[in-house]
């Protein structure tokens, strides 16, 4: 009897201790994240403040390479091992796996008013009547070029966009080649990415989509830009490492630009933070408007979304974190410190935290570029079949550059790969 009494007391004590622990132990939420610049550090800082006011939640940021977000996260999500939240660049890829935040939000209408309908729809899928809220765009991007003005000055070559609002790709290539020759650097580079290639191709007159949304790659504009890319390599105007030295994955040309070895670099607005941090005022760099051609002048829209997954065990806590990060003051501080173009429509005046004229000027250029984006460009970013296009363009053009395929065969293969990917997706 005595033993039973002791046992009961011990059991109650253990249950009490565990209960207290369970009450005080904060809920741990995990975010899958990647960094282009300082955004991970800024997010951590903002979340530290959130945690100070919300002792019941602890948020862990798992920072991984961008390729892991592209290749590993989709598998993780489909296998049922999704993180609670993530920063994703291919929002359409996780449709059906997102958490509908509406039941947990204090004011769902705020989200509809604050973020562009297209960006919210991007996460919802094909159903245009959907009203679910799965996350918010935490960055809007536009592709476009940068120049190293110092190299132009050292070479004594005029910057073409100083004298004309409409500079063609051919003119930029010619000027950059002169700079490269005089300064023993590279003339031009473009990230190894089908997305980055698309803007220049549209500028040269390419059209990927017809009115029904069907995809046809083989157009004179596409051929012109593809041939130009091949010629850059043949004439050694571009660092071959970017397209030929990275195997089958995305590769940025930014390291060459940052190290001052590149006159003209086609990338996008997300590089501003990177350049502000890693170049600073070591040399004069700036963004210039997208070149002009038969197809007009356009970059590609893009960006990342901060999303929540339905597999989370703590939807209420996830919603609280999302609400905090989407709130006007926090969002504004995030973009001001990261030099991101916001995906929030009602932030008011943004006071970017940089004293670098190059960063301020580049932000203005990209803000102007955002207004010039063509329908084809929007179609490629947000269209339902667009997911099948960019990788085949990147990989088959690489084969054409190295000589494994003629340009004709490469274009044929791009079309076949796209059709096969669409057929496989349709079979699911």
């Amino acid at each position: 009897m005595k033993k039973v009494g002791v046992f009961l007391v011990l059991a109650l004590l253990i249950i009490g201790v565990l209960g207290v622990q369970a009450q005080t132990e904060p809920v741990e939420l995990r975010i899958a994240w990647y960094d282009d610049g300082n955004e991970g550090a800024v997010l951590r800082d903002l979340l530290d403040r959130f945690e100070a006011d919300n002792a019941d939640i602890r948020v862990v940021i798992d920072t991984v390479p961008y390729t892991s977000i592209l290749e590993q996260l989709p598998l993780q999500v489909e296998a049922g091992e999704a993180p609670d939240m993530a920063r994703v660049s291919a929002g359409e890829r996780y449709r059906g796996f997102y958490l509908d935040l509406r039941p947990y939000l204090t004011d769902p209408a705020y989200w509809e008013e604050s973020f562009p309908a297209a960006a919210l729809q991007w996460l919802r899928g094909a159903d245009e009547d959907g009203t679910e809220i799965h996350g918010f765009p935490n960055q809007f991007t536009v592709t476009g070029p940068y120049i190293n003005r110092t190299l132009f000055e050292q070479a004594g070559v005029d910057v073409p966009s100083d004298n004309s609002d409409e500079v063609t790709w051919e003119q930029w290539t010619e000027a950059a080649a002169e700079v490269a020759e005089a300064t023993e650097t590279y003339a031009v580079a473009i990230d190894r990415s089908g997305h980055r290639f698309a803007g220049p191709a549209f500028t040269q007159g390419a059209t990927y989509f017809d009115e029904e949304g069907n995809i046809t790659i083989d157009t004179p504009g596409f051929r012109t830009m593809a041939q130009m890319l091949i010629d850059w390599h043949t004439n050694e105007l571009t660092p071959a490492e970017v397209w030929l030295g990275s195997g089958g994955t995305y590769a940025p040309g930014a390291p060459f630009f940052v190290s001052g070895e590149l006159a003209f670099y086609m990338s996008g607005s997300w590089q501003i933070g990177n350049f502000a941090t890693n170049i600073g005022d070591a040399f004069d760099w700036e963004a210039v408007p997208n070149p002009t051609g038969p197809g007009g002048s356009t970059g590609m829209p893009g960006g990342t979304a901060f999303v929540a997954f339905a597999q989370t065990e703590h939807p209420e806590e996830v919603a609280r974190v999302m609400e905090y990060l989407a709130s006007v003051d926090v969002y504004r501080e995030f973009v001001e410190r990261t030099l991101f173009i916001p995906g929030h429509q009602n932030l008011g005046e943004i006071d970017y935290q940089t004293e670098l004229p190059a960063a301020e000027q580049s932000l203005q250029v990209f803000a102007a570029e955002a207004l010039k984006l063509s329908d084809q460009a929007y179609g490629l970013q947000y269209g339902s079949n667009a997911f099948a296009v960019n990788n085949p363009v990147r990989d088959r053009l690489t084969q054409a550059i190295i000589g494994e395929l003629s340009l004709d065969d490469a274009i044929l293969r791009i079309q076949e790969d796209i059709d096969a990917a669409l057929a496989a997706a349709a079979a699911s």
Partner: protein, 352 residues
């Protein structure tokens, strides 16, 4: 005085002994009890099992843990792979995937001319097959030749033999990714080797940006990394050859080459078969090292079969698990063929 002191010491010793013994005895007893307890627990389970299954049946009980691990991590994934090869779509879980029969295999084998990948529907697969073929032939030949040469050298009484044996084996201890990164730093455009070439007045060479160079270096670094392992096996084979045979041959007037051809090579053949088979299978499976080294590029110059399978299944924008599984079946068939040939040749050499 002298008569009294020794008994005092002996008493002290005894006291020490008895205190130590007093300490050790309970500990020893505890261990013995623990041991008995564990054995009894095992007996408690095993005895009734043996009564039920018999002594022969118990063998299966002992094999069971290993069999389970083998079943879960080898057999089950193989069966699953087989199932996936006959399904389509992009969904991950088997129950969500539609059955498509032999469509994936047909897709792989739709070819105008099997020696021209451009005429094939899945041209990258056939490029990968041809690249793998070239890699296997070159890598295995160089690997065997160089391993044999180094084993023969290290079997002789050379100065610093112990050091050289360790030095040859050292790369085997490195992770394939580390090997790839070391060589990448050496061979990239701004790498060590190009630095040396430029310092000597030459021009930079695109070792990793030119298809032929990349293929050559993929073979070179794999030979460098794996040679030590096969050298070790061949060295063991060489040391198993009785020295008397060489003595007898030298008395009969045989020169070094004749001894090598008539004694070393025939007696080394069983070991050589093991080395050839192991290196062949490993060469067909080439992936991690080259993937970290070149990523399969430039273009598809160093894309091998396993990389094709990986990228088709996991890394493309649309994950085609069915096609990837079908390609891995084709590769499994190649490996099965290689093993069957080896077994046949091995049996023949045993008979002779």
């Amino acid at each position: 005085m002298t008569s009294t002191s020794p008994p005092t010491e002996s008493k002290q010793d005894k006291r020490t002994d008895s205190s130590l013994g007093g300490l050790f005895k309970p500990i020893g007893g505890l261990f013995a009890a623990l041991y008995r307890g564990i054995i009894n627990v095992v007996d408690f389970v095993m005895h009734p099992l043996q009564d039920r299954l018999g002594v022969r049946g118990m063998a299966y009980v002992f094999v069971l843990p290993n069999l389970l691990i083998f079943g879960i991590f080898i057999v089950f994934p193989m069966l699953l792979n087989f199932y996936y090869a006959f399904t389509g779509g992009t969904r991950l879980f088997p129950q969500d995937r539609p059955f498509v029969g032999t469509e994936n295999l047909e897709t792989l084998f739709t070819c105008g001319n099997f020696f021209d990948p451009n005429t094939c529907r899945t041209d990258i697969f056939w490029r990968a097959v041809m690249n793998t073929g070239g890699y296997v032939v070159a890598q295995v030949i160089f690997l065997i030749l160089l391993s044999l040469l180094s084993a023969l050298s290290l079997n002789r009484k050379v100065v610093g033999r112990g050091f050289f044996r360790s030095a040859f084996f050292y790369p085997v201890l490195l992770s394939p990714v580390v090997v790839a990164l070391i060589w990448k730093w050496i061979l990239q455009q701004d790498g060590l080797l190009n630095g040396l070439i430029v310092a000597l007045g030459g021009e930079r060479v695109g070792f990793l940006l030119n298809a032929q160079w990349a293929q050559v270096w993929a073979v070179v670094i794999s030979v460098w990394a794996q040679m030590g392992f096969y050298t070790l096996i061949l060295l063991a084979g060489l040391q198993a050859i009785p020295a008397e045979l060489y003595e007898a041959a030298s008395i009969d007037g045989a020169n070094l080459w004749q001894s090598f051809r008539r004694i070393t090579l025939p007696l080394l053949m069983p070991t050589m078969f093991v080395v050839i088979v192991l290196s062949l299978i490993r060469a067909v499976q080439v992936f991690d090292q080259v993937f970290a080294f070149t990523g399969g590029g430039p273009g598809t110059a160093t894309t091998y079969m396993v990389q094709f399978i990986y990228e088709t299944g996991f890394s493309n924008q649309t994950n085609q698990y069915g096609l990837a599984a079908a390609a891995s079946l084709v590769m499994a068939f190649f490996l099965l063929l290689l093993t069957a040939i080896q077994l046949r040749l091995g049996r023949r050499s045993d008979v002779t």
